[in-house]
Amino acid sequence: MSETPLLNVVDLVKQFPLGGGMLTQPRAWIKAVDGVSFAVAPGESFGLVGESGCGKTTLGRLILRLIEPTSGRVEFGGRDIISLNRSEMSALRQRMQIIFQDPYSSLDPRMRVADIITEPLRATQHTSRNQRRQAAAALLEKVGLRSGDLDKYPHEFSGGQRQRIGIARSLCVRPDLIVADEPVSALDVSIQAQVINLMEDLKEEFNLAYVFISHDLSVVEYICDRIAVMYLGGIVELASTRDFSVSPRHPYTEALLKAVPLPDPHRRTEPFAMEGDVPNPIDPPPGCPFHPRCLYKFDRCPREKPSLIEAGPQHFVACWLNEGKGLRNED
């Protein structure tokens, strides 16, 4: 990437205490996000994939500083947002917004749609009620709802329509970046496609950058330009979407891709069942966090943790197999 990144995340760490109280020490620390770095260009769609507990949601919240990191930097438009004070942060929030997974719990049931959509405006700018209603009406039309819906309440809408309301809310301050945390996971297939198409159109129109968080590889692959795969708090592979699907280099990425059931009855494959569960983040395995489940592990893997290295042009991977030696069984 030659241009200045819109978002630059540097060695970000977030630890959560486990147990403990005001006067007692926590029993342990969970490294939810463990030294993550990446950059997102203006107008780019960047995907974060991984299974439950891999830290992708925590990372999304850290990017917007909805929670404070333990260490590391988040730069937005060249400024380190972690050092900003409250009012500076509030001004910057207009440029970065979030869309949540659950369209049922992310909208206040007692607020009318017009107020929900324009709440970010009310929070950050001096606007009249009339201006806000006009803005809300325009936004509703933009996301495919009717401006006549302004005075309705969330329960009067279907799941897909509520997600459109969530999107309209995020757009109302004309952001440059939207963090979308599993925005279509709770939706039915046909509605999911509607919302994906809407997000694509809006991206085009407003030159939005997305950090798109999802466990659904086919959706991420469809939307994103680049994809980062997370496992146990760290990025294990980061590549262009094409490299991700054509030549994945991390055994975990490979396993994820192979585990997706193909929607083709003529290509039936034995489900690729990788043994074991994701390890408990309280007590992560030594060395490479993936080694207990890895098909290609060798003596170095449980001893040393591999760092993210550039194994191909703009293709980063954290795996000892990429140290130049072709140790893979199948090669």
């Binding site: 299974e51 439950s52 279907s158 799941g159 897909g160 329509q161 039915d188 297939v189 046909s190 509605i191 999911q192 496609a193 509607q194 994906i196 198409n197 694509e200 466990h215 590889l217 086919s218 959706v219 692959e221 469809y222 979407t241 094409r242 699907s245 054509v246 396993a255 994820l256 891709l257 192979k258 585990a259 997706v260 059931p261 193909l262 929607p263 083709d264 009855p265 003529h266 039936r268 494959t269 034995e270 489900p271 690729f272 069942a273 990788m274 043994e275 569960d277 994701v278």
Partner: protein, 335 residues
């Protein structure tokens, strides 16, 4: 044609709600052969789960009521049976697993006890025998160190492990039919692959029939022999899995298949817009004169909005509920 284990004919289930009568299942018919796997596909509210609850006699009543129809299982009409006889079939000859294992397991009972219980209730085994068999089953579904985990509680297990316990519980009595309602939807993709692989092994080794309820067309393509597609309480298409994927007839089935992004679609670097299905599913309390899909259908014409089509043959063992069978010229080209 194989031997029909389960045959549902003209089943209707209504729910009496303050908003009116919801026709959750509206004249559904299909069958399942012995040893066969059927994928029952559709989106939220299409009636697929209600259909399965009706089979095992667990429609919450009130507000629900089976209005009409036959549910024949192994030669008996389940609707004629009293509650006690139905209870004997449930968990013994027909078992069910649900989407969220945490809500279907009892949180205050050890898992060994929960797996052993159907054996004591249905097969009259002693406690010791039942626990021994439970341990065997937990081992069979690949719970690591199963013998030592009998006294574990559900909260001590991961989601995938809980689903394995659910499967062991459903399987202990050797059911002829397993109904799996979105069994892998709540699981991560690598864990889903483990559970699907387990279900395939069980089915092969135990010659059981599987009614797999899911919205995931990938799971259907990999697991099912035949597919029944439901929309708004009705079967809109039924065919072998290869017919459904190769020659979908109903515009809804076509829409579902086209609206799904697929892994590898962008290998050539191009991105094609997803073909979505416009609009939303109809409200079930609304009485619809014509085809229930007409409002969202790109091919709909006047007749579709006036008269409901019937499920008719459109190919070899391939049925669809659509006027395009009689009026093929109404099908628009590229939509």
């Amino acid at each position: 044609m194989g031997n029909k284990l389960l045959e549902i004919a003209d089943l209707s289930v209504h729910f009496y709600t303050p908003e009116g009568i919801a026709r959750a299942v509206d004249g559904v018919s299909f069958y399942l052969n012995a040893g066969e796997t059927i994928g029952l596909v559709g989106e939220s509210g299409c009636g697929k789960s209600v259909t399965s609850l009706a089979i095992i006699g667990l429609i919450p009543s009130p507000p629900g009521r089976i209005e009409s129809g036959r549910i024949r299982f192994a030669g008996r009409n389940l609707r004629d049976l009293d509650a006690e006889s139905l209870r004997k079939i449930r968990g013994h000859e027909i078992s069910m697993i649900f989407q969220e294992p945490m809500t279907s397991l009892n949180p205050v009972l050890p898992i060994g006890r929960q797996v052993a219980e159907p054996l004591m209730v249905h097969q009259g085994l002693s406690k010791a025998e039942a626990f021994e068999k439970a341990a065997d089953w937990l081992d069979y579904v690949k719970i690591p160190a199963a013998g030592k985990r009998l006294n574990d509680y559900p909260h001590q297990l991961s989601g995938g492990m809980r689903q394995r316990v659910m499967i062991a519980m459903a399987m202990v009595c050797g059911p002829k039919l397993l109904i799996a309602d979105e069994p892998t939807t709540a699981l991560d993709v690598t864990i889903q692959a483990q559970i699907l692989s387990l279900m395939l092994r069980l089915k092969d080794e135990l010659e059981m029939s599987l009614l797999l309820i899911t919205h995931d067309l990938g799971v259907v393509a990999q697991m099912a022999a035949r597919v029944v597609v439901m929309y708004a309480g009705q079967v809109v298409e039924e065919a072998s899995v290869s017919e459904i994927f190769d020659r979908p007839f109903h515009p809804y089935t076509q829409g579902l298949l086209q609206s799904m992004p697929r892994i590898g679609d962008r290998r050539d670097g191009r991105k094609q817009r997803l073909k979505d299905i416009p609009g939303i599913v109809p409200v079930l309390t609304e009485l619809i004169e014509g085809c229930k899909f007409a409002d969202r259908c790109p091919h709909a014409f006047a007749l579709c909005r006036q008269t409901q089509p019937q499920l008719v043959a459109v190919g070899d063992k391939h049925y669809a509920r659509c006027w395009l069978k009689e009026y093929p010229e109404r099908r628009k080209g590229d939509v």
